[in-house]
Symmetry: C2
Subunit: 167 residues, 2 copies
DNA sequence: TATTGTTATACTCTATAACTATA
DNA sequence: TATAGTTATAGAGTATAACAATA
């Protein structure tokens, strides 16, 4: 594609003169989206390693923890808490159910909805997974002190739920 | 809360008794991956809105900013900085080139590689986009003070590049 | 009429292997 | 042989519309 060459045809500019090495001190690092993505990539990489043995994906882990904390939670509520759409929850719960970690129980009150419960196997697994993920977070952020790690968590919380108390 | 108590088959437990409302105070909120994902979802949503008019995706924006800062950057270097794989860079640059925002210039030194440069249109656009994204970050984090916003950015940087100076 | 869960579908993002052309 | 870029492909993740059963 011919460059718009109002004055200096870009083709003639620097060819030999440019140093193209590792890039830092970038303006991009001032952008929140970039920083969040890079940090998440790292934290998720550690998480994946920690969960590999149990073949658990991030969304599956989150679902297990929520179900543990709120036995009988509905799929709609699960979708809201995970910030995913109902169709994904169906797949998610299908997987957990087929692996014997959770069960759907039809609600007597509202027979359209299900309550989701952990099985014994699910309860046992989630205990293990929580410990693993906690350790994974620590190793992923070993450059931070405990205080800094809590600061980071608090700031992130205030980004995604603005009215949350600082705690 | 009548959680499965050692003996009772989970199916028989609570059916009517469970309150399934909005969920907070969750253990999940202590997990870095969850917090990062939620924060990123929010920041990216604002970013998407800000860029909608220009039909620019996050990776495209990042690429434009990098090319602006490092004219003649190679695709391999771009891949490394964006933390994406070389095949994605091909598509990325194809899009930018077809939209007249950037051009590939074959390197004389190493004729396997290209230097990527912004066109005039690309240079003009990236100035606009940087201002928009800066504003987008501010509105996405309006619950934070300037100091807190910089703290967050600094902490994130130290997560994804552990040896970086605190600045 | 509205809501819960479901199916189907498509689109983006991401990862991998294999190819080409240069070095 | 090694590297830069490319092609092809497949798998996640995500979003949307439309449907069935129930309220």
């Amino acid at each position: 594609m011919p460059v718009s060459d109002k004055k200096t045809p870009i083709h003639q500019v620097m060819q030999e003169e440019v140093e193209t090495g590792p890039v830092d001190g970038l303006i991009l690092e001032e952008r929140l989206g970039y920083a969040l993505r890079r940090a998440q990539l790292k934290v998720f990489k550690h998480f994946d390693e920690a969960m590999r043995e149990h073949d658990i994906r991030p969304a599956q882990f989150s679902a297990l923890v929520i179900i543990e904390g709120y036995p009988g939670v509905t799929q709609a509520s699960l979708a809201q808490t995970l910030a995913i759409d109902p169709p994904r929850v169906v797949n998610l719960v299908n997987t957990l159910e087929s692996r014997g970690l959770a069960v759907r129980v039809r609600s007597k009150r509202d027979r359209r909805s299900y309550g989701i419960f952990l099985t014994r196997a699910g309860e046992a697994l989630v205990v293990t997974l929580k410990a693993l993920s906690e350790q994974s977070d620590l190793t992923a952020t070993q450059g931070l002190s405990d205080i800094e790690r809590r600061q980071l968590l608090a700031l992130l919380r205030r980004v995604y739920s603005p009215q949350a108390p600082e705690k």
